[in-house]
C-alpha cells in the first residue's frame, strides 16, 4: 500500500517538475509547481511526518504559490520566447547534474544509519514529537532561524519603502 502510493506520487512529482520546465506559459509552470509541492507533501506523509506534510500544503502550495500566481496575474506575463541558451549549459549541464546526483546518492546510501527511523511504513512522528525536538532539543537553532527570518522581513520592508 505504502509502496504503491509512493510510486504514484513520486511519478506525479517528477512529471510535474518536467512539465514545469517544458511549459512555455508562466501560469502553467506555476500550476505544475503546485502539483510538485502537493505530491511532496504526500511523500512526507508516507514517511510519517504528518505535521510537515500539512505545513508543506499550507505554506508552499497555499500561501507561497498563491503569491506566485498573483504576481503572474498582476503582471499579465505572456508566453516565453525560446532561445538557444548558453553553450556552457549544454557542455557542463548534463555531466554536472549527473555528478551531483551521483554524489547525493553516494552520501545517502553511505550514511543511511544516521537517518533514524524514518521510512515507508507504519512509523509516525506526531506533532508532539516534532515540537519536543524543536522547542526543547533544538531550541537555540530554532530561535536563531526565526531571528534570521525577522531580518529578512525588515530587509524587504526597507527595500519596498517609498523614498520621501
Amino acid at each position: 500500500m505504502h509502496l504503491a502510493l509512493f510510486i504514484i506520487f513520486a511519478g506525479l512529482c517528477v512529471a510535474g517538475a518536467l512539465n514545469l520546465l517544458f511549459q512555455r506559459h508562466p501560469i502553467n509552470s506555476a500550476l505544475s509547481l503546485i502539483v510538485v509541492m502537493s505530491s511532496l507533501a504526500v511523500l512526507y506523509l508516507l514517511l510519517g511526518a504528518e505535521f510537515l506534510a500539512a505545513a508543506q500544503v499550507i505554506v508552499y502550495s497555499g500561501a507561497i504559490m498563491v503569491l506566485f500566481t498573483f504576481v503572474i496575474m498582476l503582471l499579465n506575463a505572456g508566453r516565453e520566447e525560446r532561445t538557444h541558451g548558453s553553450k556552457l549549459a549544454y557542455i557542463a549541464g548534463f555531466p554536472g547534474a549527473a555528478a551531483l546526483l551521483g554524489l547525493l546518492t553516494f552520501i545517502f546510501l553511505n550514511r543511511r544509519s544516521s537517518f533514524g527511523q524514518a521510512q515507508l511504513g507504519e512509523y509516525l512522528a506526531t506533532t508532539g514529537d516534532l515540537s519536543r525536538v524543536l522547542f526543547r532539543d533544538l531550541l537555540l537553532p530554532f530561535e536563531v532561524t526565526s531571528v534570521l527570518i525577522l531580518i529578512a522581513i525588515l530587509g524587504a520592508v526597507a527595500l519596498a519603502r517609498k523614498e520621501h
Binding site: L31, F51, A54, V57, S61, V66, T127
Partner: protein, 353 residues
C-alpha cells in the same frame, strides 16, 4: 475489533456518498433559506411559488441551471477556464471529509459519523482552504476580462491576508485542548455541557470573533464580498461563467459556508455535545446517542448559517482599504494578543516538568 480492508473500504465509500449527497442537499436548501430570510429582512416574501412554501425552489433552480446554454467566450484560456470551477467545488467538498459530526459510534469497528479521523484534522482543513483560492484566482485570470481579473486579484489578496488571522485565532483552542484532532478537541469540551465549551468556559470568545470575521472574508461573503462587488465589478471572478460552471462556484461558496459553520461548532461550541451536560440523563442506547448528537450538531450548524445570512442582510460592504486595514492592523494583533494571554493562563495552571 479488527476490521478487514474490504469492510473498511465499503463503509468508507458509503460514508463518502452519504455525506456528499447530504452536503449538496444542504447547499441547495441553504440557498433557499438565504433567499427566504433576506426576503423577510427586506420586507418581502422571498420565493413562495414552487411547491408548498417555495420548498421545491432549489429543484427548479437546479433544473434551470442544467438546461441553460453553456457559453464559452472566444478569448478565454480554455484549460484553466474549465478547471477553475472544478477546483473550487472539489476543495469545498473535500474539507467536509475531516469534520466529525456525531458521537463516537462504531459499526464493525469503523467510525460512523466521520469520514476520516486524523491526528492533524485542523491542519488539513486549513490546507484545503488555502488550496481553494486557486479556483477563484484562476477563474478570474483565465476569463480574460478585466472585471474578472480584478475580482480574482482582490480575492487572492483578501484570502491570503485573512488566512493569517484565521490560523492565529485557532492557536488558543489548540493550546487549550493540546491536540489537532477535531474529535479530541470536542471531547475536551464535553465534560460540563455549556460551561466547558471553548466559547464560554475556555474564554476563547475573542478568538471566536476573530475566527468568524476571518472566515467570512475567506468565504467571500458579505460584508467582505469585494471579489464579486456588483456595483464595481459586474459579478467579479464569475462574470464570464454560465450554466453549470457558474453553479459550481455557487455551490462551492455555500459548501464553504457550511464547513465554516461545522468548524465553528466543533472548535468553539462543543461539537455534537449537548449544552446541558449531565443535567439531563444520558441515553445508553447507541441509536439514541447517535440521533441526539446529530441533532445538537445540526442545530448549532443551522445557527451559524442563520448568522451568515443575517450578517449578509444587515451589514454594508467594506471598502477595499478598510478591508485590508481591518485584517492586518486589527485582527492579526488581537489574535496574537489572544495567544499570549491564553498561553500565559495555561502556563500558570500547568505544573512545570
Amino acid at each position: 475489533m479488527e476490521t478487514s480492508l474490504l469492510v473498511f473500504l465499503l463503509i468508507s465509500l458509503a460514508k463518502v456518498i452519504v455525506v456528499v449527497v447530504i452536503t449538496l442537499m444542504a447547499v441547495a436548501y441553504t440557498v433557499l433559506l438565504e433567499r427566504k430570510l433576506v426576503g423577510r429582512i427586506q420586507n418581502r416574501w422571498g420565493p413562495s411559488r414552487v411547491g408548498p412554501f417555495g420548498l421545491l425552489q432549489p429543484l427548479a433552480d437546479g433544473a434551470k441551471l442544467f438546461l441553460k446554454e453553456d457559453l464559452m467566450p472566444e478569448a478565454v484560456y480554455r484549460p484553466l477556464y474549465i478547471l477553475a470551477p472544478m477546483i473550487a467545488l472539489i476543495c469545498a467538498l473535500m474539507s467536509i471529509a475531516v469534520v466529525p459530526f456525531g458521537a463516537d459510534v462504531r459499526w464493525k469497528g469503523v467510525q460512523l459519523f466521520e469520514i476520516s479521523d486524523t491526528n492533524i484534522g485542523l491542519l488539513i482543513l486549513l490546507g484545503i482552504t488555502s488550496i481553494g483560492v486557486y479556483g477563484i484566482a484562476l477563474s478570474g485570470w483565465s476569463s480574460n476580462n478585466k472585471y474578472s481579473l480584478l475580482g480574482a486579484l482582490r480575492a487572492s489578496a483578501q484570502v491570503i491576508s485573512y488566512e493569517l488571522a484565521l490560523g492565529l485565532s485557532l492557536v488558543g483552542i489548540v493550546l487549550r485542548s493540546g491536540s489537532l484532532n477535531l474529535r479530541h478537541i470536542v471531547d475536551v469540551q464535553a465534560t460540563h455541557g455549556l460551561l466547558s465549551w471553548n466559547f464560554f468556559g475556555g474564554f476563547q470568545f475573542i478568538a471566536f470573533f476573530i475566527y468568524l470575521m476571518a472566515a467570512y472574508a475567506e468565504t467571500n461573503r458579505a460584508p467582505f464580498d469585494l471579489p464579486e462587488a456588483e456595483s464595481e465589478l459586474t459579478a467579479g471572478y464569475h462574470t464570464e461563467y454560465s450554466s453549470m460552471k457558474f453553479a459550481m462556484f455557487f455551490m462551492a461558496e455555500y459548501a464553504n459556508m457550511i464547513t465554516v459553520g461545522c468548524v465553528a461548532t466543533l472548535l468553539f461550541f462543543g461539537g455534537w455535545t449537548s449544552p446541558f451536560g449531565n443535567l439531563l440523563p444520558q441515553p445508553s442506547n447507541p441509536i439514541a446517542i447517535s440521533l441526539l448528537s446529530l441533532f445538537w450538531f445540526v442545530v448549532k450548524v443551522l445557527f451559524f448559517l442563520f448568522l451568515y445570512i443575517w450578517v449578509r442582510g444587515t451589514l454594508p460592504r467594506l471598502r477595499y482599504d478598510q478591508l485590508m486595514g481591518f485584517g492586518w492592523k486589527f485582527l492579526v494583533p488581537v489574535a496574537v494578543a489572544n495567544i499570549v494571554v491564553t498561553s500565559f493562563f495555561i502556563g500558570l495552571r500547568l505544573p512545570l516538568h
